[in-house]
Subunit: 225 residues, 2 copies
Amino acid sequence: MSRNGKLATDLVQKLERDIVTGVLKPGDKLDERSLSERFGVSRTPVREALQTLAGSGLVATMPRRGTIVASITVADLIEMFEVMAELEAMCARLAARRMPRADIEKLIALGNECSELQEHADADAYYEANVNFHEVIYSGCRNSFLERQTKNVRNRLAPYRRLQLHRPGRVKKSNAEHSEILEAISTGDAERAGKLMHQHVAVQGEALNDLLAIVPRGYLEPLAS
Amino acid sequence: MSRNGKLATDLVQKLERDIVTGVLKPGDKLDERSLSERFGVSRTPVREALQTLAGSGLVATMPRRGTIVASITVADLIEMFEVMAELEAMCARLAARRMPRADIEKLIALGNECSELQEHADADAYYEANVNFHEVIYSGCRNSFLERQTKNVRNRLAPYRRLQLHRPGRVKKSNAEHSEILEAISTGDAERAGKLMHQHVAVQGEALNDLLAIVPRGYLEPLAS
DNA sequence: TACACATTTCTGGTATACAAAAAGACGTAG
DNA sequence: CTACGTCTTTTTGTATACCAGAAATGTGTA
């Protein structure tokens, strides 16, 4: 059975996908034995995978008490969105200065795809296209370290961010903002691109209250880190 | 023998300290068996510690080829400093808006300490005080997530950043910049604080060439990630 | 002398076994 | 009937044994 070659890495990717896509929800227990027999490997690579995921913040490990999919406090959520807005704004600023023409074309295409999907009110499909749109901008900043850093924070926020789109009217507004950002980038207006992206990503004021109101029980910790 | 309670965590902290303080240098091999007998534990916690450090980017693990203290490419170095400047700038902006009066007093004290140490040309002591100065600003941003994120990147850059201070005249200039930043923060001028901090941290133009010129052989990878 | 191939050795990856601590179940006492 | 304490069970943390793959070395041939 046991195929060679870095089983732990595979597990990390599979678990990461399950967490980011919402198959596994914040607070879910990740039992080592269950996982090991589910994936047909021993506990060792499972433990390594969990260790890695803990390092990137996607899961939380409490000594002697097991590991769960990371659930964060309201304070953490606010802080992380604050940082996320800044990171994405930086990506947008740099992208406006550095993104090659070919990628701008790609961005335009994805913008159009978002617009089309918006009509059909398919939240999941739109979410996918939306992710692609943002990723092209990450890539366009031509700073692979910033790109990795940004994706990491995004992944950690994914379970909560996904909820946003279910707010009525959010998809339409989001799409309009995409158009503005796209225009700023393609004209090379770095400052404007950054500012627009910051507003696009930041969750503040009433929008924050709305988000908090629809976060399911268990997604948030009562208190403590 | 084996004392209970999360040996791996201790190892992470010890190795992290050794890397950040320069006892272990980029490119140094981290042999699992040597480490395990040096610390008197089995390979299992050693592997977990290395896994964790790999997650935070301080060491690099090549499949079947062992792990070394992370050595990065010139391109990586430039990218990371670009992000670092932005993160510290964000800390400074937020600190200017949020830092409580008591912390500002602390910052003034540390600024003075830096000034005094500058006279004596003790690079290591100055480096220490300099770290403290910056950490008070991280803390002052009142965003613990941003604080952790910033410290993480700083740790990864530590082996290279330490080299900067050995450039003649750098300490004096750095200290002058601290004064300006301090003034901007204490007067609540967020934009100015951010801009000054960005310039303070960013390594660009001739300064970059100087830095690259004194990076020891082995600190940088020839190519590839 | 230089290069190619085989063998050996060393090191990392995986599995399993054991120990310790926490959670849960059960019984008894109040 | 409830509450507390003890025992069992479950699950994590650590150690050890085994396996596989890559680097190093040695040998033979061109």
